[in-house]
């Protein structure tokens, strides 16, 4: 039967807005297409927010559950990508809070423990990798703000709301993070 086949193909190149509307109406295939499209970005974002790849994947999984429940309330389907990122940001911050209240482990500043594969090794001399090392040295509260802003594209107000702090604190943390990161990058160059 070609209809189902060609409709799956059509979903694959359908715009986000149409997929979001269909997912909101309960179309599982449309939601899965959105997840395949944006999943890697959500995972990358979560990994920068959490301290281990396993925790990061838990956050993505929870985010997908939330997204499926709430996508019907999304007004502007063209913004589904940034909406998904906002869901991940919220879930990550919640998970971080839970982790803290369940253990006395001090803030872990090290990066997710990923073995340097061939690809990583090849780019380890890049500005991106220098930034990665600099980020790992930032205090967690600053790193979170920076990642929510630069990866998540959230506004100062959004970040303040997500973290439960004032907008002024967000601006302060971001300024400190940027000052340190710029200095570190200049030293690397």
């Amino acid at each position: 039967m070609t209809p189902s086949n060609s409709s799956a193909n059509r979903l694959a190149d359908a715009p986000d807005a149409v997929l979001a509307e269909r997912a909101g109406d309960g179309d599982v295939a449309a939601f899965e297409t959105l997840v395949r499209r944006h999943g890697p970005l959500m995972r990358a974002y979560s990994r920068r927010l959490m301290s281990s790849p396993a925790e990061a994947d838990d956050v993505v999984q929870e985010s997908l559950i939330t997204a499926w429940k709430e996508i019907g309330n999304l007004r502007d389907g063209t913004a589904v990508r940034s909406w998904l990122m906002r869901v991940v940001g919220h879930r990550a911050v919640d998970a971080g809070r839970r982790r803290k209240s369940h253990s006395n482990v001090a803030d872990q500043h090290e990066l997710p423990d990923r073995a340097p594969g061939p690809e990583r090794a090849a780019v380890s001399g890049s500005a991106g990798q220098a930034l990665s090392r600099a980020l790992a040295k930032l205090p967690e509260e600053q790193r979170r703000c920076w990642v929510l802003k630069e990866y998540g594209g959230q506004s100062y107000d959004d970040i303040a709301q997500t973290l439960g702090i004032s907008t002024a604190s967000v601006r302060g943390r971001l300024a400190r993070a940027r000052t340190t990161l710029v200095t570190e990058l200049e030293e690397w160059r």
Partner: protein
């Protein structure tokens, strides 16, 4: 390491300027060597961030192949039921179908036409009251090159026919709104034309 030393402009002011391209202080920033040096630093940081994000997304996609399938399998997504739509049953039974299943029906029959992809579909009216008039409102994304009025008419007819067979809804109108026009990749385009 006080960023507000010397000319007095903070890294926050400069970040805002970089983001918005506007500042009450633009004239100073343009001609201050210290501000210019800091802006260059911030631009370098931004470029490095884009590079790192790219690199992160690439490895996030590739690490442990199948991770996304596993997550999707864990979701066990349930379709949305919505309201209950009555069907005529025997004297001692209550027969209904869900609003969600009717909307899925509209989606499927619409998708089977070449050139359209159904977006949101709403059943407006008291669908849970037998015989109450119902308006079916459908958002449609269409491919370029298909004449819209003909497409809308065709869609109305197939949706109406399908609802007549599969439901007992008293459909008053089927309203089609084209919300999006899409271009498609060349090979898909030929396939679409072949179907039409």
């Amino acid at each position: 390491m006080n960023p507000t030393r010397d000319c007095g402009r903070s890294i926050e002011d400069l970040s805002d300027y970089l983001e918005t391209g506007r500042s009450d202080d633009a004239l100073h920033i343009e001609y201050c060597p210290q501000c210019q040096a800091r802006l260059a630093g911030l631009r370098g940081l931004h470029a490095a961030a884009l590079e790192l994000l790219d690199d992160d997304v690439t490895s996030a996609a590739a690490d442990e192949p199948g991770w996304l399938d596993a997550m999707l399998a864990n979701l066990r997504l349930e379709t949305r039921a919505g309201r209950s739509i009555p069907l005529t049953g025997g004297p001692h039974e209550t027969l209904t179908e869900t609003e969600g299943s009717v909307i899925a029906l509209v989606r499927n029959v619409g998708d089977s036409l070449g050139g359209v992809l159904i977006g949101k579909c709403r059943l407006d009216g008291d669908v849970d009251v037998a015989g109450a008039p119902v308006d079916v409102n459908i958002n449609v994304s269409a491919l370029y090159g298909h004449p819209l009025p003909a497409l809308a008419e065709e869609l109305r007819q197939v949706v109406m026919a399908e609802l007549l067979v599969q439901t007992e809804l008293n459909v008053a109108t089927v309203n089609v709104a084209f919300t999006d026009m899409r271009e498609v990749a060349v090979e898909t385009d030929t396939a679409e034309r072949g179907e039409a």
